[in-house]
């Protein structure tokens, strides 16, 4: 029998944290389908979907996702889990934002012209950051040439590295930060300063590629995956996933 292969485009965070390495064997055992994933930026993941080169997407940029579905490229978006964003910075906290809400903290940083490192890559994290600036009453487009506002155009980890070298603040997802802490063997140059604010929740969803738009996609396999990952058993498995002993993702799929 022909090997059943499901191709997924996903954001780097799900890959980098090891979640997919953890889930893929279970999926194979449960359904006999092999999961192959391409870990790229959210923008590129959506583009791969639009070009019919993958069967399913797992991304975390709700507004872009909605636009994607509206354009007819995807169907059946289902939220599966979230983790949260945090604002990190140098331990001596020069701008004094520790314990503030996210928007307050950003406003303070801008006022103090303390160094803030942005991913600037239109990723889910970057889009979230832009929303936060807007909520804080600051037009993110105007920050572009501010000397204290550094755009790396790279992944989260590279951005964390820049932030630590430049002694700046940055917005990061918790998963990557746990990895970052781990690689520095517990002597992080950056520490968590803002966390737990509801506004900085990072919602992940799966979207099947629209078979009407892409006749060659394996929608049956995609649907199987989508059903599988929202099933209570797998939702529990996600909750059990640990990185460096810490839970990373909180499952929140709505059962049908």
């Amino acid at each position: 029998a022909e090997k059943k292969v499901l191709r997924m485009a996903t954001t780097t965070s799900t890959d980098n944290t090891g979640l997919l390495d953890y889930l893929a064997p279970i999926f194979k055992k449960d359904t006999g389908i092999e999961l192959q994933w391409i870990a790229v930026g959210t923008g590129k993941a959506l583009k791969l979907g639009q070009n019919c080169d993958v069967d399913i997407l797992m991304v975390h940029a709700p507004s872009a996702e909605k636009a994607f579905i509206k354009a007819g490229y995807g169907i059946n978006r289902r939220e599966i889990m979230y983790n949260d964003f945090i604002i990190v910075g140098p331990p001596d906290d020069p701008a004094g934002i520790k314990g503030m809400s996210a928007t307050e903290a950003l406003r303070k940083i801008a006022n103090q012209k303390a160094i803030f490192v942005s991913r600037g890559d239109h990723s889910g994290t970057h889009k979230k950051e832009e929303t936060l600036w807007k909520t804080a009453g600051i037009d993110p487009n105007k920050l572009d040439k501010e000397p204290w506002y550094i755009q790396t155009g790279q992944g989260m980890l590279a951005t964390l590295n820049v932030a630590s070298e430049k002694r700046g603040y940055t917005l990061t997802d918790r998963g990557t930060f746990i990895k970052y802490e781990a690689t520095l063997k517990g002597k992080p140059i950056l520490v968590i300063l803002v966390e737990g604010d509801k506004i900085i929740r990072n919602q992940y969803s799966v979207i099947e590629i629209n078979p009407e738009h892409c006749p060659n996609v394996k929608n049956d396999l995609a649907r199987t995956f989508s059903d599988w990952i929202t099933s209570p058993k797998i939702q529990q498995a996600i909750a059990n996933f640990r990185l460096m002993g810490k839970q990373l993702f909180i499952p929140n799929a709505k059962t049908k």
């Binding site: 780097t12 390495d21 080169d53 992944g155 980890l157 690689t183």
Partner: protein, 229 residues
Amino acid sequence: MGYITEGIIKAFELLISRDAETYSAILTTLKVSTYAMTASLALGIPLGFFLGFLDFRGKKLLRTIVNTLLAFPTVLIGLLVYALLSQRGPLGQYGLLFTLPGVAIGQTILALPIVIALTATAVESLDRQLRITLLALGANRYQLLCTCIWEARYGILTAAVTAYGRVLTEVGISLMVGGNIKWHTRTITTAIALETSKGEFAMGIALGLVLLLIAFVVNFSLMYLRQRS
């Protein structure tokens, strides 16, 4: 600095413990670079020969273009090949996207200008007497080609080695066209890129050293062959 020594140790560990992921990436790297080198040498050496050997109008411009293509960014090649091989691209039906042959196509495009430009230079630096001698000895066009290439073999070997280094180390095409799919299209360089983006610098260095080791083995064998001939 710590992770450099750590990386060196890890490189040995990976090789000695026959780490499955590493060996899969090594195999993938060897496969895809072999395809790409075979194709680019088969096409590039004759083309380079003609460019270096023949005199024709527009030759200088052609050389300039080939030299320009030495600066063909891998990301651009990756994008173009992706555009061709994508489901919605003209070659989409062959399903080459996210496969090794697909990557090899891109790497061939990358290596080709190097092979052509360096072969042309090697052939140009041949003695002008060679042509006369070969014709005088009765070589036909094909034999002329083969013998000139053989006489320029050291230069062409350098061309091949340079192109090989380029193919072995490129990331842009492998990522874009291959998709860096674990166990399938993950090469050593894309693995390094991944490990680095994960912050696993020691692992990145370890894999980098493995890649250099492969290059050394290949070059050492070539040197040995060259010495024997």
